[in-house]
Amino acid sequence: MNGRGNTHSRTWWTAAVFAVSAPLVVTLMRVLWRTPYPISETVALLEDVDTSASFLVDPARRTYYRPLYHLTWMALWRGTGSLDSALVLFKAIEVAAVGGLIALLIWHLRPRTPIAAAAATFAVAVLVGTPGFRDNLELPLIYTTVGMPLLLIVWILVEREHRWWHTPAILTLTILAIGYKEQGLVIVPVVLAAWWMGAPGASRTTSAAIVVATAVYLAIRFSTSGAWPGFAQDVGYGFTLLSPDQATTRFGPFPVAMYAYNVVVTMANILFSEPTSGVFSIVRDLRSGEVAAWEINHVISSAVLTALIVWWGVRVLRADLNTQNPNPKSTPWSVESRVFVATVIAVAASAALGFNYTRDRLGGMAAVFYALAAYYAVRAAAERLVDAPRRLVISMGVVLVLLASAWQLRTIGTVEHARLTAFKDRREWITNLQRRRVEFAKRAPYLRVLNAMIDQGTTPSVPRPTAMPEWARSVIGSD
């Protein structure tokens, strides 16, 4: 798993990756911790939690069903008896999930060589720089932010020697992830593929248990589905965003075509960072001559990395298929082959779950495997250069440096995005209070929550975007 070894210990190189990643992780956690909850989404959500428990028992109430997410809010609020405490604790979950995910990734990779360590820093940059990660940093909608580390923990368990407690642990983690958001279902095919490919921690019992649990969940969902409209949210199409009404008018008789479009563009977003929410905004900017440097960087860095992952994946699959297996009882598939297949499955499953409408955040679960695959792909490419001719080392070395730099810029862009979000959330509190008071004048619980949250929304200790020259902002990106 860790490539060619040398005298340095795995602990040393893992510590080195943690040290290099520490500024990013600490900064991101610090920014998220000081980000106010926005008025939009939060106040209405908490009003709902305060006044009704039907979101727990009635899957037909909305097109989505996230009982554990709502239960978390309810437990924190009623358990502490204080909205302020609930807000702090809920934010702690988000911060822990984000920091924990990055730490888990590094710990799982545990590089043993300098090249593996460098590849691990690259994987961290890829994880944080993906649209799926970035779009899931939004408070209070942390459904997938919780699901992503759960997915990684499941993967760590299926790749370890089987223990009796793996099955209940994997089942619990899967139910938790699904209970937070439907995207948790991505775990199911990933575990099944891991079992089929002989992952040591994925037993037949594990697979059977997870299939049964999923069947029960789907039976409940399908049996309680309400008379929902064909399109629940705005949908991107080509270069424009269609409202649900517009989409219904246009695709009502045959929504499957639009659903297929959503699936394909979600996949394209994960693999190429374009389109966003179904809209080919970078292509549009390119055509109108208004394309920014960061847009080009996102598309090219994603395309090159995806190509590299495909090259590595095909290579490891071929190697496994061509290897004579001396023990017919053991699996012919290597860890790397399983990661590649799991990546393909996670991308496809994430895309399929976004059939109704697509957003960057729907690629969150797949982003975990995209980062894992990036680690192995870049490590493989770098290791091939060790004994390569000098000319190849220079040319390919330049390509790898440029690719790593491009993803570092995206990582910095994510941090700036988080700072800007915090700044915008505070501005919303400063400017939109009166409008909300007027609009929701007849909803006393809403106003009660709104007034109780003013202090957290207007606190002066809120991050703001870094002041930087226009050229730098153009390269790093801004919203």
Partner: protein, 158 residues
């Protein structure tokens, strides 16, 4: 092998240094509660909504008239004007919304002509917003500005 590792890892090290540097940079890294302008009038006229809010959040009365003069808006004359009227005359929609959110009352004499001023200056969207969110208790009759008024704001202030 180590040279290749350095090539691949160097961007991460530089990125880490950049992120750390931007996080520990000067105090403007956070939205300070200390006003960045000398007066709330300056903040409304020349700053962002956060600059004006810094005064309100530290105790400035959003209804208290303030001295103000401006070459364009008052032809250089010193006038006394409410923060809301000043924000309207500067077409600062966010600041108007902030003032309404944090205590500006449309029924006070110093504020009641805000809608008239917005319409007079051609800021129709702002006027609609003030009526919708400010909820004035009664409709006011807008004064007819003198034809030779050197600046539109002068017709609405003392």
């Amino acid at each position: 092998m180590e040279r290749i590792a350095w090539m691949l890892g160097a961007p991460a090290i530089i990125g880490a240094l950049w992120i750390a540097a931007t996080e520990v940079r000067d105090p403007t890294a956070t939205s300070s509660s200390l006003p960045a302008f000398e007066s709330i009038a300056d903040a409304i006229r020349h700053g962002e909504v956060e600059d004006a809010y810094a005064f309100v959040s530290t105790g400035a009365d959003p209804n208290a008239p303030i001295p103000f003069s401006d070459a364009e808006l008052t032809s250089g004359r010193q006038v006394t004007i409410s923060p809301l009227m000043l924000a309207v005359s500067s077409n600062k929609e966010n600041t108007v919304m902030m003032l309404l959110s944090f205590g500006a009352q449309m029924d006070l004499p110093q504020n009641e002509l805000a809608v008239c001023l917005a319409r007079r200056l051609g800021y129709d969207d702002l006027a609609v917003m003030i009526v919708r969110d400010g909820k004035p208790a009664r409709e006011v009759t807008c004064p007819e500005p003198p034809p030779d008024a050197p600046a539109p704001l002068l017709a609405f202030v003392k």
